[in-house]
Assembly symmetry: C2
Homo-oligomer: 518 residues x 2
């Protein structure tokens, strides 16, 4: 006989899901026990649900297929929601399994009872409560297919404990994800016509278009027509470096983005939406689209955006070659680490085929510029703005790509949200090098305090944006979680420690101390 | 002129709310700036929203009046939800302030946009979105009153950034919380009659009744009638020790609770509900009420439960004195720390008037027994079952009662969820002694794996319940967050370090390493 949990896990495996990031509780014990019955399913323990969901996000970005999560009831889902929000905005495939009380137990309003559906629906994905062992396999197969829709999404399965533990679970074969509609040829033709018109045009690409193929097409269009191709502000996975066209990202600061879009008559979006300011600021517009510009959607998120770009390139740039970024070498800087020079150390030493999980926020503003000619790499960014994403995403990326070096560039303030991700790196011996940019401040909020017109702030306000008193010593915290760690205060130290960490398997953390920018 | 934020904060202060636990973002910058305009409002920075909400819970338990939170948009609320769930189950007064995008910005679906209402409503409390500066003061006053309803609750104010920053905020005077209905005299008389009948009866008390007055009344009833008085399994604030009647708590394990209730004909509940199993287990009942027992509600959570108990005591025990627990001295045990002896060290050295935040879970099962004759103290427990509560609650308790020693008895697994609470202890120099019971396991889940009938688990299941490989070194983690720390492996070391920590102001952490129970 087969329990519900066994049927669920074997169905997930047959549909290609073979990693489960888990933070289980009592109601998930039969799911946990059933992991031993499906040898191909890997269980990865995380010590907090935000690490679970962030890791599943990182896995999905690199593997292109979903990992599963395992969360404990409504509060466990709650703890995982910030990184599910980031995954939602990243349009990542993710199968989110949330255990619930036994069906007959819910009426008793036990202490951990809560409504899970509203939390699941908050992720704007696909949600199904499993009703019986008869359907559990079909439900799991549908979840995997739904996760891989276009765009990809979070698919949540709510799993009552009694359905999990009862005999009679029926596995199911994989379900096919829906094929996205082909690009609309008329739209492609219309936009080709606009590009031929020669007015100032920006092509803003996002979603799957920020991989190699989409950027090759976008750059050919740009080269042939003079339009500027830009990558959305927070791409899910941005492939870049030597051998890839160098496309700038639209700026995070509205001021910077508006400068990039100044004078544009046509804004063509592909795989993303018209750009908006991350936050509202008194007296400033929310939309970043210049008043004189028309927005044209080449491809929404629900169509094959790479195909659309390739068709457009075929129309307007049939014989144009993309302009691939040349490999450049960066001089190793010397002296004390600063917000200006730390990225040059990374750029100078970046290994081939690295994955960068970037949550450096203000400290990383200069990074894309200096790594443009570094060896080819993928950058995973903070898609939904919910901080605490960088370390978990690097965990998932390292599980998905054990042969690639993963580099987590991580701000101090954001690191504190999901710091126990370090333990999972140690437990799984993941090849992650964490460069912790420790400026002892919520530097971005010091900037935002001024940008919102609230001024410099009085002493109490400044206290709330300050992370000194006490300074966090991330080298000690990392050691406490089992990750070997060092402290760097100079470029030379960072270079030496970064090289050593890359040369040795397993996780390392470098606590790189830099003065705050503001 | 007064901004919305200034009106909000000054209204909160006038209503008696003078602490705000905060983890702000850009949309809350004007609230942060306005803290400097209201000198009596203290801002306490926490590095994660689960610390914010847990601290506000702990504050409310000790102060009896609400603290405010400050959270950043939907994802910030998400991170705070697990401890809001615990606060919900604790019926704690709490004013939860969640910043939102500017009203006109929401339509743009910026990256951090999400629906906050469903998350706020999930806490089963009071929810209001602030619509204008004209009403912001009245909204804040209503929130404080709502938080202090009977039972107390989480009152959430959703604060759009533009209402926060705009001039024209109108403060308001305090609103009166509704007075709870008086106990129903007929019900009191009916229950008095049952008690006089002499059949086996248990009185289960919860909510505000687990303070001194409620327990004095319950014990008098017990002494006069032979009924057994029990405290609910997870009390919000249980006053106990020498000079207080010693009432056992109903067991967490259903097996233990059923033994306590075996043969009971009448179960009288006051300030709590009929007991239910924390989780469902195959083949075991969800309700813990014996089949032959009748449940009688002396007072629901919405009436003055202490008054009801006192009226009942006046009826059945007019001349009966309560049986106060005598002060006892506990011998200091010696030798290696074990799950059996660590609590004796605490009991032997517990200072007068301590507050214990207890999240030791399995490791703390023996604690209530050994501390029954220790100096009077308050115990704050894991009311909603969402782990990661103990350290934040101790932060809030220490802010509410700076003159009382706060002792956080904390399991290792649970500590990892909200570990950055240590930083806030250091920042605020809070008088918290953390005794970290480090058994390198989710010991409770090893137990639950068996109790749910899933057996001992195979190697993969056992891996998911194991916190060794690597062992967490909490002394290093604490040092990294700025809290002085030590390691204890023997009773002698724990005794010496515990005494030293209590003697010195400010936070300390003792990493007390014990072998796992299972």
């Amino acid at each position: 006989m087969t329990t519900g949990a066994q049927a669920l896990i074997s169905t997930l495996r047959d549909a290609g899901v073979d990693v489960c990031f888990a933070n289980p509780g009592t109601s998930e014990m039969h799911f946990v026990a059933a992991l031993d019955d499906v040898p191909e399913m890997r269980g990865v323990l995380c010590l907090f649900e935000g690490v679970v969901t962030g890791a599943a996000d990182g896995y999905g970005r690199i593997a292109g297929t979903p990992a599963a999560t395992l969360l404990h009831l409504g509060p466990g889902m709650g703890n995982g929601m910030a990184n599910l929000h980031n995954a939602r905005r990243a349009h990542v495939p993710l199968v989110n399994v949330v255990g619930d009380h036994a069906t007959y137990h819910k009426q008793y309003d036990a202490p951990l009872e809560s409504d899970i559906e509203p939390l699941a629906e908050w992720t704007h994905g696909w949600v199904r409560r499993i009703e019986s062992g008869d359907t559990i396999g079909a439900d799991a197969a549908a979840a995997v297919a739904a996760a891989q829709a276009t765009p990809a999404q979070v698919a949540t399965l709510i799993l009552p404990a009694d359905i999990s533990w009862s005999e009679g679970g029926v596995p199911a074969g994989p379900a096919e994800p829906e094929t996205p509609p082909a690009p609309d040829a008329a739209v492609v033709a219309e936009i080709a016509e606009i590009l031929r018109g020669g007015e100032r045009t920006v092509i803003l690409i996002g979603g799957p278009a920020t991989g190699e193929a989409g950027q090759l097409a976008a750059d050919r269009i740009s080269a042939a027509t003079g339009a500027t191709a830009l990558v959305e502000t927070f791409p899910t996975r941005h492939t870049r470096g030597a051998g890839i066209p160098h496309l700038d990202r639209l700026g995070y600061l509205a001021e910077a983005a508006m400068a990039q879009l100044d004078g544009v008559k046509h804004l063509i979006v592909a795989g993303t939406g018209a750009p908006v300011s991350f936050f509202a600021y008194p007296g400033k517009p929310s939309s970043l689209v210049p008043e004189e510009a028309q927005v044209h959607t080449l491809a929404g998120r629900d169509v094959d955006v790479v195909a659309a770009l390739e068709q457009l390139a075929a129309a307007v740039a049939p014989d144009t070659e993309p302009r691939l970024a040349p490999a450049t070498t960066t001089e190793l800087p010397t002296g004390d680490l600063t917000v200006q020079n730390w990225g040059q150390v990374i750029a100078a030493l970046l290994p081939e085929n690295a994955i960068i999980s970037d949550e450096t926020n203000t400290s990383g503003l200069l990074l894309p510029g200096v790594t443009a000619g570094s060896p080819r790499h993928d950058v995973l960014t903070l898609t939904g703005g919910a901080i605490g994403q960088g370390l978990p995403v690097s965990v998932g990326a390292a599980v998905a790509a054990p042969d690639r070096p993963v580099i987590a560039l991580q701000a101090d303030g954001s690191a504190a949200y999901t710091i126990s991700a370090l333990w999972t790196m140690a437990r799984e011996n993941l090849n992650v090098t964490v460069v912790l940019i420790n400026n002892h401040a919520y530097a971005i909020l010091r900037l935002e305090l001024m940008r919102t017109g609230a001024g410099q702030g009085g002493p109490k306000a400044r206290q709330l944006l300050d992370l000194s008193n006490p300074d966090m010593d991330f080298s000690k915290i990392a050691a406490g979680f089992g990750v070997p760690s060092t402290v760097a205060t100079t470029c030379e130290e960072l270079a030496e420690q970064f090289s050593a960490a890359l040369a040795e398997p397993g996780p390392h953390l470098i606590d790189a101390r830099i003065p705050p920018m503001l």
